[in-house]
């Protein structure tokens, strides 16, 4: 656009004036929608430019200020407003994406705004400045600002499509929520890409030697470590881990505490005011950033007319930061060990996040992985750079096929609350897989399909994604119906589940409308838990399977007793009843061997009963039949 806001027109051949915005179909950006800051970048012919504000800033704080006059501000201005009207400002909304009220209870008290359950279930709502907003709407406001920033930087060219990055551990609910937010902001999501994958793409690792790569992401408030496996230009997330409440902010706090202790010594013992804490934190951040380049410095804190001087050397800073950095290294170690990887096999380490600028972090990462990390690209921007490259590849065409994997296993609940995995974790997507299930009871006409996500063996330890019912199953003996449940995960990691009864073709399908369940922390924990609890889980699963089997036998025996109970003598009946009681008692306990043994003795006790029933059955079937019909009856009796 020209200075006065008018669009510039070109002279065209008759009838060839392009429709408005036609020319802009090409502008597809990469967006790193971060917890603390967001970044947008555009790639043109493989060279990426981070789209900056007029004053050159690439980072857009992911903070939204809802003004009383109805206006909405995003970014640096919104962050400034936190000081004056904290209850009108929302930050870190990413933590609430796709989260239900149960998930958020853990965060209660740490959020500066009121979180309310959604009366329709699903994602929480926020009450901010008299408005009730969902995390999706708030994220959409951030994305709108990002879109506006990009359009401004591109001289008014419209931006309508984007690749948006999400954490590798984001589940279906959070991914859907992110996509919805983009749509609300008027952006078509070309693809959701995992953040570590985007970082790896930024370094062109898709063209590098095949093998394992690690992405170490230490931001302001979160730490993530991911191990990617690159094979034929395709990335799979082999393992992820992290800490949703560990980051540069913790280091700032440690420095601020150190400063405040000094200040007490300098100006005398006094109760620390909120203003002093704020000043100390800001000074701490400045000091930390300064000491990246320098080895020592001195800063001044002045509150209520009482100045104090604070010197800090890099050595002191590193002493204060060490516990946090060591914690990240410990998590790296855990993740690498859990994944059964030898550190020496990792061919490269990518640094992401502003906190990785600290020399201590780089040194420790280099120590642990035994090689200097890749850090040429601005660690705040590297994810957006990768996303931009992918956006260009998807619109302008490219040989690069980016493949992601399912972050957690997907499965369905079977009898007794056992999870049957249909798509295992780390399966490259898009993918479709199916498994057959059957009915449990005679004449069962409906089957409830409960879709779950997670690594544990029992349903209640995993995350519930969706439930639906397949009805109209024709009455059949238990185990005769064949119900094929197919799972399809599209390129964005979103799931569709279909159930089909194979003999009738009756089908029921759901695009998973996730029932929101877990927070990021729990997601990361789930992966670790699955390994820690692998043995317990397996025992629990075996026990439950035995109990389900035992109950199935009980049902069969009881229904047989109802029909043919008259075949038994009083003694026989008594023995069977005793065996039934024994099975019931064993099922109530948790000793698998006892359950199995009781079922065996029930079988022994009912052996002669079963024979008598069979005799009666055959006699009834034969009664009044000719030999011809008998052949048919036996042949077709299966």
């Amino acid at each position: 656009m020209s200075d006065d806001g008018l669009v510039m027109l070109q002279l065209h051949e008759p009838g060839e004036t392009p429709a408005p915005h036609d020319s802009e179909r090409g502008a597809a950006v990469g967006i790193d929608l971060g917890t603390t800051n967001s970044v947008v970048a555009l790639s043109f012919e493989g060279s990426v430019e981070v789209l900056r504000s007029a004053d050159g800033r690439g980072l857009i704080p992911s903070v939204v200020h809802y003004r009383d006059d109805g206006g909405v501000e995003v970014g640096a201005k919104a962050r400034e407003a936190i000081l004056e009207t904290p209850d009108h400002v929302v930050s870190s909304i990413k933590r609430l994406m796709g989260r239900g009220i149960e998930d958020v209870k853990a965060l209660a008290g740490t959020l500066p705004y009121a979180v309310e359950p959604n009366p329709d279930g699903g994602m929480v709502r926020l009450r901010v400045a008299g408005r009730v907003l969902t995390p999706v709407e708030i994220s959409a406001d951030i994305l709108r600002a990002i879109k506006a920033r990009a359009e401004e930087a591109l001289l008014g060219k419209m931006v309508s499509r984007a690749v948006v990055t999400v954490p590798a551990y984001f589940d279906d609910a959070a991914r859907t929520a992110t996509k919805d937010a983009a749509r609300l902001a008027g952006l078509e999501v070309l693809r959701l890409v995992n953040e570590p994958t985007a970082a790896a793409l930024a370094y062109g690792l898709d063209n590098a030697v095949e093998g394992l790569y690690a992405v170490y992401d230490l931001g302001g408030g979160t730490f993530d470590i991911s191990v990617l496996k690159m094979e034929k230009g395709v990335f799979q997330v082999k393992a992820t881990g992290g800490d949703a409440v560990l980051g540069g902010d913790d280091i700032d706090h440690a420095i601020a505490e150190h400063f405040l202790a000094d200040r007490k010594a300098a100006v005398g013992e006094h109760p620390i005011s909120a203003g002093e804490v704020k000043q100390a934190l800001m000074t701490a951040r400045v000091a930390k950033e300064c000491l990246t380049g320098r080895t020592e410095g001195e800063w001044m804190i002045e509150v209520d007319g009482r100045p104090s001087r604070h010197s800090l050397t890099r050595e002191q800073l590193e002493f204060l930061a060490a516990p946090f950095v060591e914690r990240t290294i410990a998590i790296c170690r855990e993740v690498v060990e859990d994944a059964g990887i030898d550190v020496a096999d990792i061919r490269g380490v990518v640094l992401v996040g502003g906190s990785t600028r600290m020399p201590l972090v780089r040194a420790r990462v280099a120590d642990f992985f035994g090689r200097p990390p890749l850090a040429d690209i601005n660690p705040d921007e590297v994810v957006a750079v990768g996303a931009a490259l992918q956006a260009e590849a998807l619109t302008a065409g490219s040989d690069t096929l980016l493949l992601d994997v399912t972050p957690l296993s997907l499965g369905i609940e079977t009898m007794g609350g056992i999870v049957e995995k249909v798509i295992p974790r780390n399966t490259p997507i898009p993918v479709a897989m199916a498994q057959e299930f059957t009915t449990y009871q005679d004449g069962q006409s409906a089957m409830s399909i409960h879709v779950v996500q997670g690594e544990r063996e029992m349903v209640d330890q995993n995350r519930s994604l969706a439930r639906f019912v397949l009805r109209g199953i024709p009455p059949m003996t238990a185990g005769a119906a064949r119900i094929r449940v197919s799972f399809q995960v599209d390129a964005d990691g979103l799931l569709t589940v279909a159930a089909t009864e194979m003999t009738t073709g009756i089908e029921q399908q759901v695009a998973v409308k996730p029932s929101y369940g877990l927070n990021d922390d729990e997601m990361a924990d789930m992966l670790r838990d699955s390994l820690v609890h692998a043995r317990d889980d397996m025992q629990q699963r075996l026990l439950t399977e035995s109990v389900v089997e035992a109950r199935r036998s009980l049902l069969a025996v009881q229904s047989a007793l109802g029909v043919d109970g008259d075949l038994l003598s009083a003694d026989e009946r008594q023995a069977i009843d005793a065996a039934i009681e024994q099975v019931k008692a064993a099922c109530a306990g948790s000793d698998r061997d006892a359950v199995t043994a009781s079922v065996e003795s029930l079988e022994t006790a009912t052996k002669s009963f079963a024979e008598k029933r069979m005799d009666r059955g055959i006699r009834q079937a034969l009664a009044g039949m000719s030999v011809d019909r008998l052949d048919g009856a036996l042949g077709g009796g299966e």
Partner: protein, 112 residues
């Protein structure tokens, strides 16, 4: 004589149109300005070479340039000044139209 026509061209715009007509390499009746109802805010200008004048075109001769105005457009563009703007990154014709009441965010379309 520089009579105020339905639309006026600045010197820069007139020079540019002349240059472009010369470069087009085929006989032209001039340029044609039209509007069409597309875009996110109602209408959009069209600016095209004209191979021939059509019967109902409003004809403006100005600074050596023939501007044909589509009859459908005449009432919307009356009083518009057409200018040629060159900036660091891009250049193009701009229409300063007193009839416009608003534009879409991207500036490609307008409403009256």
């Amino acid at each position: 004589m520089d009579m105020k026509g339905p639309i006026t061209l600045t010197d820069a715009a007139a020079d540019r149109v002349k240059a472009m007509l010369a470069k087009r390499g085929k006989p032209s009746a001039g340029i044609r300005i039209g509007v069409r109802s597309k875009g996110c805010s109602g209408m959009q200008y069209t600016l095209e070479y004209a191979d021939e004048k059509s019967q109902f075109d409003e004809v403006v001769e100005q600074k050596g340039v023939t501007v044909l105005i589509d009859p459908k457009a005449a009432m919307f563009v009356f009083g518009t000044e057409m200018d040629w703007v060159e900036e660091q990154m891009k250049s193009g014709f701009v229409f300063r139209n007193p009839n416009e009441k608003g534009r879409c965010g991207c500036g490609e379309s307008f409403h009256i």
